[in-house]
């Protein structure tokens, strides 16, 4: 027999207790992983709005609760265009509409047709819309396939019926599930003449991105430039809230898991004091007792974490099907999620088991054996 055999044996001897403890850990990990996937997917989705345009960075209004509420004026765009290090800048308006129950958040992106290529949009079928057309639209190839619409067909979005002039591809899932139409048309529909959601800026080769960003932010203090995920919170407060909720939820889940583990480990410490005394008396070192106690907790945590990840996988799948989240929640399970789950399980073990283990090891053998 080795230590692992003994650990397994001890856990099997208290099956119900081990399972319940593992369940507490599993629920903790389930919560943590689900929140993590949800947050990172939302961040990823938000970010892919920005990445849709092939730009060095984006510009939006600072401090709005949701990126979609950002308003950037034509005059701001003109100013940015005049900066010496700026190669090009385009402005787009983004609006969401409800297409049907399966597409509650269908994106309409207003882009001037002459900027499409620069924006990274490739027309793969048909032709682009013309700049003044009020009833022409292009669909991303994924959206077109999903909706079963072809070039020459039509689509109705909230009372407006458009003729589909072309199908495009952006190389971004997010863009490819959206639609595009002339900027001025969308501005008129949304009653936001001269207003845009985002600017996409490309700088001249060799120019310093950070310098250009600083200049824009000092010239136009109502705007913020965004390049990375962490910049994103400045133009989308909701994301900051979601991130904070994720952190808070994770800490709570961690505490719940750790308390579950601690409860079981302390219980076993009191019940098995005599047993630890016997082991010490026949030559087990303190460290071996610590290893036994922590090992038992770690084994439960590990199994619990594995169950938690599996449960989380199911939970995320379910969430992705929620009508309210269709289109904005594209779950991405990365290897990082699993490491995180393992890390949290290890943390639960440490928080829950170290103290009981230390107490069990500190007892002198005779004193422990006299314990009733």
């Amino acid at each position: 027999m080795n230590l692992i055999d003994l650990i397994r044996q001890n856990l099997l001897a208290r099956k119900a207790r081990s399972i319940l403890t593992g369940l507490a850990v599993a629920i903790g990990v389930l919560t943590i992983v689900t929140l993590g996937v949800l947050t990172s997917s939302l961040r990823g989705t938000a970010l892919s709005v920005l990445r849709t345009g092939r730009a060095d960075f984006s510009v939006a209004q600072e401090g709005v609760s949701d990126l979609l509420y950002s308003a950037v004026d034509t005059s701001d765009l003109d100013h940015v265009r005049t900066l010496p290090d700026v190669e090009s800048a385009i402005g787009v308006l983004v609006a969401v509409s409800k297409l049907d129950a399966n597409h509650p958040l269908f994106l309409k992106i207003g882009v001037p047709p002459e900027s499409l290529a620069e924006f990274g949009v490739k027309v793969v079928d048909g032709r682009a819309y013309s700049s003044k057309a009020t009833n022409e639209i292009m669909l991303g190839y994924r959206a077109a396939a999903d909706l079963g619409v072809h070039v020459g067909g039509s689509i109705t979005i909230e009372d407006h019926t458009y003729k589909v002039t072309g199908i495009f591809s952006t190389g971004q899932v997010f863009g490819d599930t959206a639609s595009m139409l002339p900027l001025t048309t969308l501005q008129a529909e949304e009653r936001k003449p001269g207003s845009m959601t985002l600017l996409f800026v490309r700088i001249k080769p060799g120019a310093n991105i950070d310098k250009v960003r600083k200049q824009i932010e000092s010239d136009l203090p109502q705007l913020a430039t965004v390049r990375t995920q962490s910049d994103f919170g400045r133009v989308d407060r909701n994301l900051i809230l979601i991130t904070a909720a994720n952190l808070g939820g994770s800490v709570l889940a961690l505490i719940i898991g750790a308390v579950g583990v601690m409860n079981t480990t302390l219980l076993s410490f009191f019940e098995r004091t005599r047993e630890f005394g016997v082991l010490r008396a026949i030559g087990w070192s303190r460290m071996r007792i610590v290893a036994l106690v922590i090992g038992e907790a770690a084994m439960v945590c590990l199994l619990g974490a594995m169950a938690g990840v599996v449960l989380a996988f199911g939970a995320v799948r379910l969430l992705a099907r929620l009508p309210d989240l269709l289109g904005i929640f594209n779950p991405t399970f990365s290897a990082g999620v699993f490491w995180r789950a393992l890390g949290f399980a290890a943390l639960m073990t440490l928080l829950g088991a170290v103290y009981p283990a230390a107490r069990a090891a500190r007892r002198e053998p005779l004193e422990a054996m006299r314990h009733e």
């Binding site: 230590l3 055999d5 016997v278 008396a281 070192s285 054996m369």
Partner: protein
Amino acid sequence: MSEPDIVVKVLVKDFDHGRIHALTGLDMEVAQGEFVAVTGPSGCGKSTLIHLLAALDEPTHGTIAVHGQPLPSQPRQLDHYRRHAVGLVFQLHNLLPNLSALQNVEIAMIGTGVARRAQRKRAQQLLDEVGLSGRTTSRPAELSGGERQRVAIARALANNPPLLLADEPTGSLDSEASTGVLAFLQSLRIEHNMTILMVTHDPRAAAAADRTIRLRDGRIDTEAVEVLT
């Protein structure tokens, strides 16, 4: 007689901040390979003596030397001493309730570097020798008191200690089983030249030993020794 294996000098052990005197100046020598019975009325300090020899407790005064060395005080040396220098059978609460008889013997070998198969073989052989070959998978709760003590003896011998300290190993055995265990202890002495210190209340068990030490009020009852020798 060969080298003394255990040398105890004016051993004093108090409990409760000096209010209880368990050992009161005990002098004793046990030769290498000797089988000694320790008897005496309840509370005279027999278990206390065993615990001190097993390095589970420290004396209040006096010295103990085992195998020619004073008892260690460093944690690592203590663990090593308890594991390899002595085999210990307690009066009570010996076994781990969730483990089988076989596993209860094996736990003594966890971490000693003995391979699992060799551990199993050794445990099986020891249980065989104490007459429990048929009960290897039984848990302590399924064993009689005497059978439990025999598992404990097997465990005490797992790491081949040169000294066996047994507190009432035949305490709850019927006379047939008791005879078996005593014969086994004698064979250990004869075949392995083990030193054995056995606490017992049973005069017949004591008779199986080479010599009996009688304790009274925490020291050797000299009159009794004279009577017996």
